[in-house]
């Protein structure tokens, strides 16, 4: 691969041994910074009897206490307000406010200094460049520019690469599609839910076929699983006639993983992060392919609100093959983020990941994109219902679809469901974080 295909050919092709040495030095640096500048981290480490100098090898990192979202929430809301005791720079150096979406509770406040914000754009630039974004692209941003980080960094990274960026913030979906058409935009960024939703709006309300009538060739999919679910990715790519690239990140962590053009797993942005995988039940380190676990991640060089050994609850697995045909040596994940530890739940005694249901539904062409899963308790027994829509191109022929759906659900999830077939367009549509899995058992 030509070095012009990388944002930074040196870091992206660094041999593993050198990358590990690089990561160890980066880890020690951010650990020391947090210890010196954040009361939250200093107390955490002192209580654990840990000094920054105790970390001498990568293996020592496992002794550093983990953090999680609830701890970040508890540490905020006090001075320096509102960021509290994690803040590691003087408050007057903070130049932007962000917050998490609040999907799992009280939002976490996130401060950005100008330097940290440059870091965010820089990390995204690695990904966008890998997807093929160049200074000849006109990139459309169809998201609400608000307090949530969403695609803000994507905007600035695209600018940094030299793309022409079109902010489609306050426009509604129809206006956004028309603007993309008018300007002949070549790329855009959105959640998988919205990527499919925009295509549906274009077809149904505007009579536009995105694959034929628009000029989009690259789509960055982030914010929720979807681009890592093969059936969902196929639907998005067919709807838009474009390549869809999976990208992962979180407000607390920053952007940490991306697909290259080989689309053979998710590269971890190892020059900016240390990703560890732990067994969900035992906490033991998983260093080899073949077993899924929960991600523990450390972010390097982001100093205002350090993120050190953060238990993200993302379920991931190392890719079985070491080398990627793109030439990058950043380690890869199999698929991507296949779910969240919070979402994986036992139904009728069987471990269920909602993305497995999505893979089944969207792999059946007679079904629409939308679905909903509801779990309730009937007496002592779990009861699970799957609601689906018949796709508009197919006559409502439930009898033809039902056996296939039952069989695939049984095969992929090991469960039997109550099935409900709804008219097309009647299930809820989401613009951002979709809530298609509703576990109502604890509410009854």
């Amino acid at each position: 691969m030509d070095s012009g295909e990388y944002w930074n050919p040196v870091l992206e092709t660094l041999p593993r041994e050198k990358m590990q040495r690089f990561q160890l030095e980066k880890f020690k640096k951010i650990l020391n910074w947090a210890y010196e500048n954040s009361p939250f981290y200093r107390n955490l480490y002192k209580e654990a009897g840990l000094e920054p100098g105790d970390i001498k090898t990568l293996d020592d990192i496992g002794n550093v206490p983990k953090t999680e979202k609830s701890m970040l929430r508890e540490a905020q809301g006090v001075d320096p307000y509102p960021y509290g005791t994690i803040l590691s720079v003087p408050l007057e150096q903070v130049t932007e406010y962000r917050q998490t979406s609040g999907t799992t509770g009280q939002p976490v406040y996130h401060p950005e200094t100008w330097q940290d914000w440059e870091w965010s754009a820089e990390s995204w630039a690695y990904a966008l460049y890998a997807y093929g974004y160049r200074n000849t692209d006109r990139v459309f941003l169809p998201f609400g520019y608000s307090v949530n980080i969403a695609f803000w960094a994507g905007h600035y990274a695209a600018e940094k690469i030299g793309c022409e960026v079109v902010p489609g913030g306050v426009l509604d979906t129809e206006a956004r599609i028309l603007k993309m058409k008018e300007l002949k935009a070549t790329a855009f960024m959105a959640t998988p839910t919205y990527i499919l939703g925009m295509a549906e709006t274009a077809r149904k309300k505007l009579g536009i076929n995105p694959a034929k009538d628009l000029y989009i060739r690259k789509i960055t999919a982030a914010g929720e699983p979807g681009a890592c679910v093969p059936a969902t990715k196929k639907r998005m790519e067919e709807a838009w006639g474009a390549k869809v690239y999976d990208q992962v990140g979180a407000t607390e962590i920053g952007h940490w993983g991306f697909e290259c053009q080989a689309q053979a797993g998710l590269h971890v942005l190892e020059a900016f992060h240390l990703v560890e995988i732990e067994d969900i039940e035992t906490g033991a380190a998983i260093t080899e392919p073949g077993k899924k676990g929960s991600m523990v991640v450390t972010t390097f060089d982001r100093f205002a609100h350090p993120c050190i050994r953060f238990d993200s609850k993302d379920i991931i697995e190392w890719n079985p093959t070491e080398k990627c045909e793109c030439g990058r040596t950043f380690r890869r994940l199999k698929g991507g983020v296949v779910g969240r530890a919070d979402d994986i739940t036992k139904v009728k005694g069987v471990l269920l990941a909602p993305t497995a249901i999505e893979e089944v539904v969207r792999d059946i062409p007679e079904l629409g994109d939308e679905y909903e899963v509801v779990v309730i308790k009937k007496g002592d027994i779990d009861d699970i219902t799957l609601k689906v829509e018949i796709a508009p191109d197919f006559k409502p022929n439930v009898k033809a679809v039902e056996p296939k759906l039952i069989q695939q659900l049984r095969l992929k999830t090991g469960l039997r469901y109550n099935l409900e077939f709804h008219d097309y367009g009647t299930l809820p549509r989401y613009a951002v974080k979709a809530k298609r899995f509703k576990d109502l058992r604890h509410k009854e």
């Binding site: 070095s3 930074n8 050919p9 040196v10 870091l11 092709t13 660094l14 050198k18 040495r21 690089f22 030095e25 980066k26 200094t113 100008w114 330097q115 914000w117 440059e118 870091w119 820089e122 020059a271 900016f272 060089d301």
Partner: protein, 58 residues
């Protein structure tokens, strides 16, 4: 893979940092200088992350 002059680039990056820092030191507190230097320093930090921090590792 091309050979890159990492150490030479790192030296130039260090000179950029020194120049920017010196500019801020002599600015007399002119905000139009100080705040723009802060932005320059943030960009220099990205150069350090991409290049300078590799010195000693490779």
């Amino acid at each position: 893979m091309a050979e890159y002059k990492i150490e030479n680039m790192a030296k130039k990056i260090e000179m950029l940092r020194q120049t920017a820092t010196e500019l801020k030191r002599i600015s007399g507190g002119i905000q139009a200088v100080d705040r723009n230097v802060d932005r320059i320093l943030a960009s220099i930090k990205m150069l350090e992350i991409n290049i300078s921090d590799l010195v000693g590792t490779i």
